[in-house]
Symmetry: C2
Subunit: 367 residues, 2 copies
């Protein structure tokens, strides 16, 4: 194999596929990026079985072929090269020569014979949405997946399509995050659980805006995200997702609107006195047109009031401050509406159109 | 005590003195910032015995007094306050009330009776230089102090004044860094060893430019840096500094000029194949008007050549690549001059005027 690429194109390709290089495997081939120069294009691939990424790198194929290079070393070398043309050439023993201006590197490679290619995804119907929307939908829900290994289903997000409607759901047993999105077209119904890791990586690679598309293909076992010159394939999580509809209610006893930034900053200040390990709640006293926040701890105390516009009953309720902050941080609106029933029932943060719905369980407090 | 300050002024004061808060001590008072409101000014102080910092914070004294507050909590609270006026009020039990807009914090404080004040420095003659120069001089030498605790003298830098000349020296047994600086006035001779920690912190706090002064006072045991509203006092390191003059020679067998950035980037690339633990040298083959760099390791090999403008003999010599990079990173010149004698003698990197002189010992290599 002999190819020539610009350093920036190479580095970009490496950065994209690097996210699927296995950090845990002890098998050398799993720690490699495969370079495949054939069919008029140069492809970079990495695959840790759970997640596989391939992308096309612009360049000239002087001699077709393929080589697997240890990803970390390959990435480090390219990063440190001058911003110029880079020639990559392999010999029959898989020794790889990387040249750029007057720098010459020689590193050992692997033939790539035992490389795990990305699974073949039958490309029937794709679901199309904008890169911007997918990135936003992930950002606004990913924080409430669980990282507990014994709750496999909570390690991923539900992607559910019905007609022209996409619903993305994540939950961790204490809270549920839901984003609803209108699609341009209608599709057959679909319901899959996508691992959080894949979604995290996809959202990092997606650089396009509202005009740039991403196509999503789904099979029994896999999901494929295709955009620009890049394909990301992830295994799906097996099983039926939690039935959340019965947990969602439109009823409330107390509703108030509050300045999002004021509430977020107030909780942030209050949480100075709460150690994560304490599991101490922040207590909100909702009274007339104010919320009174109060924290008492051995480290000190804090209280603050915020004006609200309220309908319904007064209420005293306690929450894990981090759960509230996680939600408030991802909402773009200046004002948020919060719905509550009583001090033991979940609270809802949602907009009028149900574009987003966040459910948070309270922590029971002494009366 | 009752004072009122703007949040930004408070935070700035905290950030300055925080560097002298003890991170190791288990004595509560050592982990505090002392606020002292008296004599028409609000002073913040911190002192971990090795290093003490005090600074004046702008604000209004409503009731004079003092209080010692746990530095981390005080800093966290102020950082999270709205950008507005902050009222700090203490009661006779040292409970401290911090108010800003509608936030109210209560934290316990200490009376500050057992606070270690900064030592009194008799202010006789001060040495004056610009904040910019002091910051630069520290930056260009501090990297070659030793962090080995059993070499106390190498944990600091020599500050030596003779007439209108300041020399700053650091060394770690493998290399010596020297910066020479012309002062505006002449002073009595002086020679002290200043701990690296103090210099590091001073250079972080110094924000002024070439027009802003810093005044340096020295006693038997202490050095005081005074600038703007801030005083930094450090203990000195006891003892006579190494006699380095006999190690410095003007003789050389090989001299070459080289593009600093090309050399730095080349060594940086080559060092990819050198693990710090290996202590493998990077080998420079100086031949005619080129340097040939070559690295061979189990991970791969690299070679590169760089054009130089040379006087004297050809030479093959090996170095710890980090030592060369440390020096090249702090030199502002585009072209550097390197002087060598043979493969076993130190090499010198210096400019014509000896503004900077860097000595690096080579690593012996097989012939």
């Amino acid at each position: 194999m002999k190819i020539s690429c610009q350093k920036t194109a190479l580095l970009n390709g490496i950065n994209i596929v690097f996210k699927a290089v296995s950090s845990k495997s002890t098998m050398p081939i799993m720690q490699c990026i495969l370079i495949e120069a054939s069919y008029q294009e140069i492809r970079f691939l990495a695959n840790d079985i759970e997640l596989g990424i391939e992308t096309i790198v612009e360049g000239t194929i002087i001699e077709p072929g393929k080589i697997a290079l240890e990803a970390k070393m390959f990435s480090d070398i390219v990063r440190k090269l001058p911003d110029s043309e880079v020639l990559i050439e392999t010999n029959s023993a898989c020794q790889t020569n990387i040249r750029c201006e007057r720098s010459k590197f020689n590193i050992p490679g692997l033939s790539g014979e035992d490389f795990n290619y990305l699974p073949d995804i039958e490309k029937q119907k794709s679901i199309i949405l904008s890169q911007f929307s997918l990135r936003e939908v992930i950002r606004q829900t990913i924080f409430s997946i669980s990282d507990q290994e014994n709750a496999r289903m909570m390690n991923g997000e539900l992607f559910e399509v019905r007609g022209n409607h996409l619903r993305v759901v994540s939950l961790d047993g204490h809270r549920i995050s839901i984003r609803n999105l209108q699609l341009k077209e209608s599709y057959d119904s679909m319901k899959v659980i996508v691992p959080g890791k894949a979604l995290n990586e996809v959202s990092k690679i997606l650089s396009g805006g509202p005009e740039d598309e991403v196509r999503i293909y789904v099979t029994d076992k896999h999901i494929l995200f295709e955009f620009e010159q890049t394909k990301v394939v992830s295994r799906l999580i097996d099983g039926d997702f939690y039935k959340i509809d019965q947990m969602l209610t439109g009823d409330y006893e107390t509703k108030f609107e509050i300045n999002k930034k004021e509430l977020l900053n107030c909780i942030d200040r209050a949480s100075l006195f709460i150690k994560e390990s304490d599991k101490k709640p922040i207590i909100m006293q909702i009274e007339n047109s104010n919320i009174y926040m109060r924290i008492d701890s051995s480290m000190g105390s804090m209280n603050e009031e915020i004006e609200i516009s309220k309908e319904g009953k007064d209420l005293r309720i306690g929450f894990n401050p981090r759960f509230l902050m996680d939600v408030l941080r991802v909402i773009d609106d200046d004002t948020v509406s919060i719905y509550m029933i009583n001090s033991k029932s979940p609270c809802y943060i949602r907009d009028e159109e149900n574009t987003y719905v966040y459910l948070i369980l309270p922590i029971s407090i002494a009366a």
